[in-house]
């Protein structure tokens, strides 16, 4: 990345792997469990978080010297809530269809601990440009895990990807189903998301021993 200095580039790259918000920092787990039953929902959530975390990090970073430390968590909460409400209102007025799709995610974004986590850990102590990169990097890292989990849950749970059947028709018994394959309804439930995330963490730590804590 020619545009960014080495340090800046690291802000984007680290959260994608060795400092991933979900698998390493354990932020944003709740939404990773709740909405990954379908790939499409995972993608929509990832984009929403990308926007809110990118803008939110910049706003908090700009305010970092004037926020009273005693009430900083409340201030952060207000900033996220305001951003999300503004986006929701504007979408409702000018892109109604899209707002219907996103409305379910609004509540999930506000309570998403990845947002508060990055405000607290990064934006409060760094400049706006760095905070913006950190926001983008972390939401991309979050997106990668969400999309992997969503991919496997939808494929194994419903036999579809983005709503398109890829393994045949389970009722007509075509494709794989003709051979006796069955969808695993268990994959649609939240505990299986936790297990998929667990497997990702396992693979990641096997490949990079530095991440293993004693």
């Amino acid at each position: 990345m020619g545009l960014l200095s080495k340090k800046d580039a690291a802000l984007i790259k680290d959260p994608l792997a060795d400092n991933n918000p979900i698998t390493i920092q354990v932020l944003g787990i709740c939404s990773a469990l709740a909405i990954t039953a379908e790939l499409e929902a995972s993608i929509v959530m990832s984009i929403s978080v990308l926007f809110v975390l990118g803008v939110g990090n910049v706003v908090i970073s700009l305010m970092r010297n004037i926020i009273p430390s005693k009430i900083r968590i409340i201030v952060q909460l207000i900033v996220v809530a305001t951003l999300v409400i503004i986006v929701d209102l504007v979408l409702k007025a000018f892109a109604y269809e899209l707002s219907k799709t996103l409305s379910v995610f609004v509540g999930l974004i506000i309570t998403n601990c990845i947002i508060m986590g990055r405000f607290e850990a990064f934006a409060l102590g760094n400049g706006p440009w760095k905070s913006f990169l950190d926001g983008i990097g972390n939401s991309l890292g979050y997106a990668v895990i969400l999309i992997i989990v969503g991919f496997f849950r939808e494929l194994l749970g419903s036999g579809t990807l983005l709503g398109i059947p890829v393994l045949g028709d389970p009722i007509e018994k075509t494709g794989l189903y003709a051979l006796g394959y069955e969808n695993n309804g268990f994959m649609l439930l939240s505990p299986m998301a936790l297990i998929v995330v667990g497997i990702i963490i396992w693979i990641q730590r096997t490949r990079n021993k530095d991440l293993v804590e004693d």
Partner: protein
């Protein structure tokens, strides 16, 4: 040395200023965008009603409404009558019936009042009549609602379901074609009495061949939303039974 931002007085002033700024900003945005939002909601109601009677732009397996530009014109064309029905099945015409807020009417009934029941009579090109009723109930997290189109015998001809905040991928799938289309042809009555339609787990009829069993197949992982759909149909559509009885006499 104590930082300036650690002082109590600073904290209080900051908090007050922040609340004022944010409050004013949101209040301004909400009130200036309200007319556009209300208009969008009005058009959506028309689209929903038309969808239930089969006036839609469905392609493949996805559910698509008619465009918002065409909705008012098509609504006038296909919806021949807008009625408000009472508990005895007496109907009065009211061309603003589609604006009746079912949520408020339900609240009225809860407080001992009398509920207005909107009903829309649609007619397609072939002269087939549809009776479309809006219903509302509770899902897992928040409200769910639907527009159900029926014929004179209370056999479902089409349905549109929607929700406020069901889980994406699970309960939210009630607004998917595979769920909504299952209701088409399903009987609400059983041997002359109202039975509703049960969203059933393990009804051993996943292809929904038996239309008279008062059951459709449930969505895996969305038990409570499905139960909410059953309850909503049972409670709200039952109120329309007297109207359909009168219709046959």
């Amino acid at each position: 040395m104590e930082k300036r931002t650690d002082k109590n007085s600073y904290t209080v002033i900051f908090a007050i200023a922040m609340v004022l700024v944010v409050g004013a900003l949101l209040a301004y945005l909400a009130s200036s965008l309200k007319p556009t939002i209300t208009e969008n909601e009005r058009l959506e109601k028309q689209q929903n009603i038309l969808y239930a009677m089969g006036i839609n732009e469905n392609e493949g397996t996805s559910a698509n409404f008619v465009s918002t530009d065409d909705a008012p014109e098509l609504f006038d064309k296909y919806i021949k009558q807008q009625l408000v029905v009472d508990y005895n099945g007496q109907a009065t015409e009211n061309d603003q019936a589609y604006l009746i807020d079912v949520k408020k009417e339900q609240a009225k009934a809860k407080d001992g009042g009398v509920r207005q029941l909107p009903l829309f009579v649609g007619e397609d090109e072939k002269g087939k009549k549809y009776y479309i009723a809006p219903i509302r109930g509770k899902g897992l997290w928040d409200a769910i609602w639907a527009y159900v189109a029926m014929d004179e015998n209370m056999i479902v001809q089409g349905a549109y379901f929607d929700h406020k905040g069901e889980t994406p991928g699970l309960g939210a799938n009630i607004k998917q074609r595979f769920f909504m289309d299952d209701f088409i042809g399903e009987h609400l009555m059983s041997n002359g009495t109202f039975k509703g339609i049960n969203v059933a787990k393990g009804n051993a009829d996943p292809k929904n061949n038996d239309k008279t069993d008062n059951e459709v197949d449930a969505i895996a992982g969305a038990t409570i939303t499905g139960d909410g759909v059953s309850a909503m149909i049972r409670k709200d559509l039952k109120l329309y039974v007297p109207y359909f009885k009168n219709l046959k006499q």
